[in-house]
C-alpha cells in the first residue's frame, strides 16, 4: 500500500516537473487521475515493459489524451522507457508528443488527443479480444467534460450491444473543463444514469484518490458477465498541488519555475 502511495507521489512530482520544463501541458487533469493509473499499471494490468506489444496484454487507452504527462510519467515509472526522457516533453524530436503517439512511445496502446476517439478505439480493441477469444481487458480513461462528445455515446451504445464485458472505462469526474465547471458549460450529469441507460454496469467511486475504493470497483467490474463497466470517480482537478486544486485555470498551462518548486515542496510534505 505504501508502495502505491509512494509511486503516485513520484508520478505527481514528475508531472509537475515535466510540464514546468515544457512550459506547456495539462497539469490539472493529469494530477486528478494519478491514483487510477498507478493502480492499473502497478497492480492491475497484465503488461510487460520488455514486450510492450505482447498479444495477450491488457490494454489502456487514454481517451482524455491531454493527460499525456500522467501516462508518460506512469509508463516511465513502470520502466517502458528511461525516466530521463520525461524532460523532453513537447520538445522538437521527442517521443513525448503533446498528446500520446502509439508509434513513438513504448507502452502507449492508442494514439489519442481528440476527445471521444479513445473510447471508440477501445471498443474496437475489446471487440477484437472477443473475436480472438482472448482474456485481456481494455481499460480506458475518459474525462467528464469529454462526455459532451457525441462519439462517446456512439461507442457506449456499441460496447453494450456487443456485450463487451472486457471493457472497463473510468470517468475522471473532477467537475471542471477548460471554460469552467462542467455543469455550467454543458452538463453531462447525471453520468451514472446515462451509462445505465446505455446498458453499462455503473460503479460510483466517492474518492477517486483512494486506492481501496478503486481496487474494489475494479474487482466488481472484472466480474461483469455481459456488460461493459464504467467506474465514475469523484476526483480533484490538480490534486496534490494547493494552487492548482479545483481551478479550471490550471487545465492547460505550465507552472513557472517558482510554482514548480512550491508544488514539489507540497508533494514532498
Amino acid at each position: 500500500m505504501a508502495f502505491l502511495e509512494e509511486t503516485a507521489r513520484e508520478i505527481r512530482k514528475d508531472i509537475v516537473k515535466m510540464i514546468g520544463k515544457a512550459s506547456s501541458g495539462h497539469p490539472g487533469g493529469s494530477l486528478s487521475s494519478v491514483e487510477i493509473l498507478t493502480l492499473l499499471y502497478f497492480e492491475e494490468m497484465n503488461v510487460d515493459e520488455k514486450n510492450p506489444r505482447a498479444e495477450d496484454r491488457d490494454r489502456f487507452v487514454l481517451s482524455k489524451g491531454h493527460a499525456a504527462p500522467l501516462l508518460y510519467a506512469t509508463l516511465a515509472a513502470k520502466g517502458f522507457f528511461p525516466k530521463e526522457e520525461l524532460q523532453n516533453l513537447r520538445q522538437l524530436g521527442s517521443i513525448l508528443q503533446g498528446h500520446p503517439d502509439m508509434n513513438k512511445v513504448p507502452g502507449v496502446d492508442m494514439s489519442t488527443g481528440s476527445l471521444g476517439q479513445g473510447i471508440s478505439a477501445a471498443t474496437g480493441m475489446a471487440l477484437g479480444g472477443k473475436i480472438d477469444k482472448k482474456d485481456y481487458k481494455v481499460y480506458v480513461l475518459l474525462g467528464d467534460g469529454e462526455l459532451e462528445e457525441g462519439l462517446v455515446w456512439e461507442a457506449a451504445m456499441a460496447a453494450s450491444h456487443y456485450r463487451l464485458n472486457n471493457l472497463i472505462a473510468f470517468v475522471d469526474n473532477n467537475n471542471l473543463q477548460i471554460d469552467g465547471a462542467i455543469c455550467d458549460v454543458m452538463s453531462p450529469y447525471p453520468i451514472d444514469a446515462k451509462f445505465e441507460a446505455f446498458g453499462w454496469n455503473v460503479i460510483m467511486v466517492e474518492n477517486g484518490h483512494d486506492f481501496d475504493q478503486l481496487r474494489k470497483a475494479i474487482e466488481v467490474a472484472k466480474k461483469s458477465e455481459d456488460k461493459p463497466t464504467v467506474i465514475v470517480c469523484k476526483t480533484i482537478k490538480g490534486k496534490g498541488v494547493s494552487f492548482m486544486e479545483n481551478n479550471a485555470g490550471w487545465h492547460g498551462k505550465g507552472p513557472n519555475a517558482e510554482q514548480v518548486l512550491q508544488a514539489l515542496a507540497e508533494l514532498e510534505a
Binding site: S111, S120, M125, G128, L151, E154, A158
Partner: protein
C-alpha cells in the same frame, strides 16, 4: 455490349472471396450494408461482419481499435458520411497512427442519382488525399475493384477505396494488373492526353474515338491510384502530347484534376483542362441526365480536349 456491374457490387462479392484467404479480415458497416453490398459478406461470414448502426464516427474509431489487435478491417458506408462526417476520426485515429484500416466508401459522386446533393460526395478525394499516410484508390470497373482490394491488403496502413453506386461497363479483363502509384496507359495518342478516373474512364475512351473521327489523336490514361500519383506518367504524357485533360466524377477542386495540376506545374507545365463538377452541389435525378447536366460525358471531354489543344498554339 460490355458486361455492366457497379464497383460496390464487385466489392461486396470480392470480400467473400478474400475472407477465405485472409483470416483476420473483418468488415464493418453503419446500417447501409444492403447499399454498400457488405451484406453479401455478412451472409457468408456473419461472425466477421459488424453493423455498428447509424454511427459513422464510431465505425471509423472501432475499425482503428480492431486494427490494433491485428485485424484488417474494411469499413464501409456512403462516401459522404465516411469521408465527411467521420473525417477527423479517419485523420486522427486511423491515419495518424497509420493503422491498417481499409476504408471502402460507396455512393461517391453524383451518380448516386435520386438521393440528391446531401448524399452525393463530390469532395471525398480531396479530403482523403490530403491526409498523410493515406493511399487513395478509385477503380474504373469491377475488375479493377478486385485488383485494388488486393493491393490495399498488401499495404500495411490506411487505404481509401472510392466506389460507386451505378452500374458501369467492365473495361478490363481478368489478367489486368494494377499497381499502386502506377497509371495505366489505355490508348496512345499524339495531340492530347486524357487522364481519367473511376466511371469517367469509359467516357474518356469514348471521347478518344470521337476525337479520332475528327482527326485528333488522343491518348487515354487511367489514374486509378490518385495517391500516390504516377508523376512519371504525367510528365511523359505532358512532354509527348503537350496538353492534358482530366476527367473525374468529383469536384474539380483538389481531386484528380487538382492532383494532376500540382504535378504538371512542378515538372512539365502544359495547358490543362479539368472535366469535373464545377464547385457546385449536385441534385436529384436519373444518372444519365445528371452526368449530362454536370458536364461529365464523352462530349464534354471532347470539348475540353479541343479547347486545350487550341491553347497549345
Amino acid at each position: 455490349m460490355a458486361e455492366m456491374k457497379s464497383t460496390r457490387q464487385a466489392y461486396g462479392e470480392y470480400l467473400v472471396e478474400l475472407s477465405n484467404k485472409i483470416e483476420n479480415l473483418v468488415v464493418l458497416d453503419a446500417d447501409l450494408s444492403g447499399a454498400t453490398k457488405t451484406n453479401i459478406f455478412a451472409k457468408e461470414c456473419p461472425d466477421r461482419h459488424f453493423n455498428v448502426g447509424i454511427a459513422e464516427s464510431n465505425l471509423m474509431g472501432m475499425a482503428a481499435g480492431l486494427a490494433t489487435t491485428g485485424k484488417i478491417p474494411f469499413a464501409s458506408t456512403f462516401a459522404i458520411f465516411g469521408a465527411g462526417r467521420a473525417y477527423e476520426i479517419v485523420r486522427n485515429s486511423i491515419c495518424y497512427p497509420k493503422l491498417n484500416v481499409k476504408i471502402a466508401l460507396t455512393h461517391s459522386g453524383i451518380s448516386v442519382g435520386e438521393d440528391g446533393a446531401s448524399h452525393q460526395a463530390i469532395e471525398d478525394i480531396t479530403l482523403m488525399r490530403v491526409i498523410p499516410n493515406m493511399t487513395v484508390l478509385c477503380p474504373a470497373d469491377a475488375i479493377e475493384t478486385r485488383k485494388m482490394m488486393d493491393a490495399a491488403i498488401a499495404i500495411d496502413g490506411p487505404v481509401y477505396i472510392r466506389l460507386g453506386r451505378s452500374d458501369v461497363p467492365v473495361i478490363f479483363d481478368e489478367d489486368y494488373e494494377f499497381e499502386v502509384g502506377k497509371a495505366g496507359l489505355l490508348k496512345t495518342g499524339r495531340d492530347v492526353t486524357i487522364i481519367a478516373v473511376g466511371l469517367m474512364v469509359g467516357p474518356a475512351l469514348e471521347a478518344a474515338e470521337l476525337l479520332k473521327a475528327e482527326g485528333i489523336s488522343a491518348q487515354v490514361i487511367n489514374m486509378g491510384s490518385i495517391k500516390p500519383i504516377d508523376v512519371d506518367a504525367i510528365e511523359e504524357a505532358a512532354i509527348k502530347t503537350g496538353a492534358i485533360v482530366t476527367a473525374e466524377e468529383h469536384s474539380i477542386i483538389g481531386g484528380l484534376g487538382g492532383a494532376v495540376a500540382e504535378v504538371l506545374c512542378e515538372v512539365a507545365p502544359v495547358p490543362m483542362e479539368r472535366v469535373g463538377i464545377k464547385d457546385i452541389f449536385g441534385q436529384s435525378g436519373k444518372v444519365a441526365p445528371l452526368m449530362e447536366k454536370y458536364g461529365l460525358t464523352a462530349k464534354d471531354i471532347v470539348a475540353a480536349a479541343k479547347k486545350v489543344i487550341e491553347r497549345k498554339r
